[in-house]
Symmetry: C2
Subunit: 296 residues, 2 copies
């Protein structure tokens, strides 16, 4: 038993899947959920995801050995503030936010001496679905979890959070906060922006219904992430604003180069870009297959 | 038996899958392949995709009731020119090109009185794989095939090509050449460009190997089409140049708007775009599910 009592703030896809994974492996004696909606928390209890819940964050974290924030990014500071005096000695705090800079900033503003108990984290897993109904115990298997411990973070706290994620089947790695945010802006935040932009662009054309009628499998794959939660991605884009804008600039330069090549019938440049991209994508797919043992 | 003798020029993913589908349904007595590589054509015979082959286009089309061009877009004019005198009376000509304007232009330059026999076509199907090894009989099932007949095209020829595609399980619709090229630029050519641009952009960053290590399922889906044939997409982009540039311009305007919203912390605009896009994507996925009877 890794923890006696765990509090999960935000019992959605990620929080719910973590709870299910830890219960499956009997890593926690009891899990309490916190959220804003009584209905959804009752559903989480009914689905066997959590044991009990509270709509009061102070009550939810009381007596917990570990508190996991799986709530929207822009609620972090408020929640840290609200829970601070209710936390027990030796508690471990962690989160699952897709942008780490803003979370760490919130921690610095609010946690004081508890900063050493905080292990910022981010599981690189998810689907375009959200909500506790979409949660499943295997979500993190063979996926990466990035921890971005602060200089102040206690080594013991990092090790406990690492163990927790390893129990779910994830591979845990450590990065600096800045490096995490730069990498995720490029590989996750930017692609989501592009997918949203493309679908909204097509939805704005005059023949929009007809246009979607003629879209094929490639389009379905390409735009799947545009079915993700608008609120969550709004929060991520604004939380990781500088790195997202930086990634957008680099992409824009690349796209401009391709546009110029098309305008000038510049076969060589166009073929070079496409060939480099295909090679990189094929290498990525190959590594992914080997790691997941799955057919792509 | 729909056709006695068919010639397929270019026995790759599309040409090979069409041959397999028609053989499975016994719609053709014999199929001859044409291509540039003896090795690949021998493989196509060995795989049971075609009965025989020729490296000479004139010999390949001789005696054929229908000739299907499934060759690169930029070879169309040369092939029409080379086959013209070898075609039998009453032959039907069709193609599978992803851009129709340039194919029709090539037909106008070369086909003369045979223009009435030509039915430009485009099956909206494919995978990121290419080559005859990737071909399979079910590729077109429940997919759309767009025919863009010319004012000169004989009604009988259109009906025969329609029947051919319906035998493969496809749903056949008709559009004008211009409308086809505009729609496909938006739903297919532009997404491919964006996927290539994104992957090449990431591959150019200093931490490129590490960056791909942290890419997750969303990235894999988004960039799958960047594994498509660089030569083929080069040809498509240049063949459908005006419409592709037009689609790129519209996308650029959309992306600029999103960028401005992020720069200004403009929550309302950002949420509006993401919500509209998610709604459109969810509607598209719902229609697709109903049409394919498949789980997305």
């Amino acid at each position: 038993m890794l923890f006696d009592r765990m509090a999960i703030l935000g019992v959605g896809l990620i929080g719910g899947s973590l709870a299910l994974a830890l219960r499956t492996k009997r890593a926690c004696r009891s899990i309490i959920g916190f959220g804003r909606s009584r209905d959804r928390l009752q559903k989480a209890v009914a689905l066997g995801v959590i044991d009990e819940f509270s709509l009061d964050v102070g009550r939810a974290v009381r007596g917990a050995d570990i508190v996991v924030l799986a709530t929207p990014l822009n609620t972090t500071e408020k929640l840290f503030e609200a829970m601070r005096t209710a936390l027990k000695d030796g508690v471990i705090l962690t989160d699952v936010g897709s942008a780490k800079g803003s979370v760490v900033e919130a921690a610095h503003k609010t946690l004081d001496h508890l900063l050493s108990r905080f292990v910022p984290g981010h599981p690189i897993a998810g689907t375009e679905k959200s909500g506790v109904e979409a949660a499943f115990a295997g979500l993190f298997e063979a996926h990466r979890v990035i921890l971005t411990p602060l200089p102040e973070t206690a080594v013991h706290a990092v090790e406990m959070v690492r163990k927790m994620w390893e129990i779910t089947g994830a591979e845990v790695v450590q990065l600096s906060v800045e490096h995490h945010d730069e990498i995720l802006a490029a590989t996750s935040h930017l692609p989501h922006l592009l997918a949203y932009a493309l679908v909204d662009c097509l939805a704005g054309l005059r023949d929009r219904d007809e246009i979607f009628e003629f879209a094929a499998g490639g389009f379905a794959d390409f735009t799947r992430i545009a079915s993700s939660s608008p609120q969550m991605w709004h929060d991520i884009c604004l939380s990781n604003r500088d790195q997202v804008l930086n990634a957008l600039n680099k992409f824009d330069t690349q796209l401009r180069m391709i546009r110029t090549a098309i305008e000038n019938n510049d076969s060589t440049s166009l073929l070079n870009v496409f060939t480099r991209a295909k090679d990189a994508r094929d290498r990525f797919a190959g590594r992914r297959r080997r790691r997941n043992g799955a057919v792509e």
